[in-house]
Symmetry: C2
Subunit: 425 residues, 2 copies
């Protein structure tokens, strides 16, 4: 793994994948077809892309029951424990509506309301991601969303992976449809005969899913569109090279565009980690992908001081940051930009991917400068409340009318003055 | 104004204006030019579109001082009082970082950090909007954003309207540039010699500004892209027709695409409001625009019961909702979707546009189903904190590794097991 000087670091200004012209057109066609033809279009594209002809799009309770029996007891209890941890963390994010009252009778406030309906996209393909089910569905449930719908592409056998259905059962999601790709996103946004539309779509997916989400954004809300995963480890001479290397590789295995950086004050550690990465890479089953990620997108940076290293981390704004230095908690306050901060030797990044409780959906590609982890807040919205008393109105209406006229909005001023006129009668 | 039956109401599924092909290309060219040529491109486009050749893009302190002297004392004190109200409401939105500690030493938490830098777009042209300066800048200041930059197109005289500069002074914004349009958005996103890039761009603008914001979204964050303004008044027979009509017209004057609906349980009120709207329209200076909005996009709906009327309001999901019924506060809990709720006779909508304190940047076109008013939360982001203790790690690491292997992510499992190996040595 390359060791570079900090000065060689380029600030990543995130670039979203906008797809090719062909991909964008294909997505537009699929969306139009689903809007016009509903379930018929869905079934057509499911046959075309997933290679299976489905009569029934909805996963039955019997199918879920069967899936649960296929997962062993120990794994079910791990999933349940993870779900409990996720629920417990996200419950801390619940916000209350609030109001202020004034002596003149005026009330101002902010009302928090859960979204009516949310659609969760769960990717299919070779890997099944039960953790993605938990990380999206549980915050929605904690928020109090009335209808949580899940969509996921079926395999060629017309089935959904057992782990995904077991996770859905644990997360309390019952409304599950065997559809994927842009057609699933279109169905969630516009509705079909068998799927009612939702207000927001969350969850990861391939380029077609991402493009479809961008396309329907505004009709419904969407979560962030994630780029490749990244990790930065901030370490000093007290870190254990083999552990740091293993953590870097855990991100690198996600795909060849993944980024895994080490920023360290110790040249000794830098060299040891570099060697360990090369050694551990050899033994990884997904080593081609991990090797590409390491060789093309990842580096070790050596800083003169901890302050300089921290400044570099803030420039990177990593999705995942591990702090593996002496007294790591003292550094947390100096981190301005990171999706999730893993503090100390035993906070290996996968602890957060699956189990600890905080969400694993995090801002990638430097967007931690302005974005947050997926949270309960993504599943609620707020309404302002303004209840002006007559006393407050009479005291202020003329001032407000004058302000409106400063902006050239005469009808605004007259709306206020209409109350004076009525009162004078 | 038309009176219709509720059954004729079509649910508005919001459609964002994506501009014409020509507009999108123009915006792309401007962004590319600003990225490549910086200030030179900015000055070129400012000459081209705003008709003024500027040597200095930045507004000087002397210019701000001069602007303040042009606004009379009474108006300055109204602006100041509005600013105080806005600050006071938004201070209630400030969220604290939090942590949970467990007996085994584990700490989980959520760290709230203000964005480093924010750019506020203030539209120019014939109308100047000091209220827009206050409503965008104050939440950013309350959030603790370190650098708040304002951009606004200059007039042909090379000046920025006095009201806008006075509002900026009151809101504590000093970093103001005389640039507008797509070139201003590009400068904020990518930076030029004289303007450092920001992390988020907020504020309303014309179609070129909106398209440019969509284009740079992902490089920086943006606020919502607003559609035409809308209001719905929910009223019973206790409402005053002339006041309801005046409130409807206050939204209609924003533009011909504006929507102003009345949903009422009273046919008597419906007819009276309809007549009042026609009468008051005649006397309005901007009556052409308001008339188009009323005739083409606005209606009065008559419901049989209050429950039915409330359901209609929730379908509309209005940007502004006025509740002008007997015991209006009792209805608030039944409103699920609205940007801002104005309760009772003296909560005329313009009270919220300028003065009461809640933000006037609200979700339009039915997006209140999933979006919230602009708030302090738009100017902060969160980082999750995971500090796993050795005890918690040793208790759970094998379970987490098994979960990772269920998803086929071997390197994740090994990152956890690397700690066992080191400990065994």
């Amino acid at each position: 793994m390359d060791i570079r000087s900090l000065s060689s670091y380029r600030i990543p200004r995130s670039s979203l994948d906008h797809g090719t012209e062909e991909q964008r057109k294909a997505v537009q066609t699929i969306i139009d077809d689903v809007r016009e033809q509903g379930d018929k279009a869905i079934k057509y594209y499911t046959a075309e892309f997933d290679g299976v002809q489905l009569d029934n799009l909805k996963v039955t309770d019997a199918e879920i029951d069967e899936a649960v029996t296929q997962i062993d007891e120990r794994m079910l209890s791990i999933l349940q424990e993870a779900a409990n941890n996720i629920a417990s963390f996200h419950e801390r994010q619940v916000q209350q509506s609030w109001m202020t009252t004034e002596e003149n009778g005026t009330i101002l406030g902010q009302k928090v309301t859960a979204l009516d309906a949310v659609g969760i996209y769960v990717p299919g393909g070779t890997a099944a991601y039960p953790s993605s089910v938990l990380m999206n569905a549980i915050p929605a449930q904690v928020a109090g969303v009335n209808r949580v719908v899940m969509v996921t592409p079926p395999g060629k056998d017309g089935k959904v992976p057992a782990g995904v259905l077991a996770a859905a059962r644990i997360a309390g999601v019952r409304d599950i449809y065997k559809i994927g790709g842009a057609q699933a996103v279109a169905a969630l946004a516009y509705g079909t005969e068998s799927i009612k539309p939702v207000d927001k779509i969350t969850g990861p997916g391939n380029i077609f899913v991402a493009l479809a989400k961008r396309e329907v954004f505004g009709i419904v809300d969407i979560d962030m569109i994630a780029g490749p995963s990244d990790i930065t480890v901030l370490a000093d001479e007290t870190a254990v090279a083999s552990e740091v290397a293993a953590d870097l590789l855990s991100q690198a295995e996600h795909g060849e565009l993944s980024q895994a950086n080490l920023v360290t004050t110790s040249m000794v550690l830098a060299e040891a980690v570099s060697e360990e990465v090369d050694r551990q890479l050899e033994e990884l089953p997904r080593h081609e992908m991990a090797r590409a990620a390491i060789e093309e997108n990842s580096s070790i940076y050596v800083a003169d001081t901890l302050a300089e290293a921290i400044e570099a981390v803030n420039k990177i704004a990593p999705e995942h940051l591990e702090i593996q230095v002496n007294q790591p908690m003292e550094v947390v306050g100096r981190i301005r930009h990171a999706g999730a901060i893993f503090v100390g030797r035993f906070s290996s990044e996968p602890v957060g991917d699956y189990f600890a409780g905080p969400n694993h959906t995090l801002p990638t590609s430097g967007t931690a400068r302005f974005s947050s982890p997926l949270s309960v807040e993504d599943f609620v919205k707020k309404s302002s409340i303004i209840a002006y008393s007559e006393a407050a109105f009479m005291l202020n209406a003329q001032k407000i009318a004058d302000f409106a006229r400063l902006e050239g909005l005469e009808a605004h001023a007259r709306a206020l003055e209409a109350r004076f006129k009525s009162e004078e009668k």
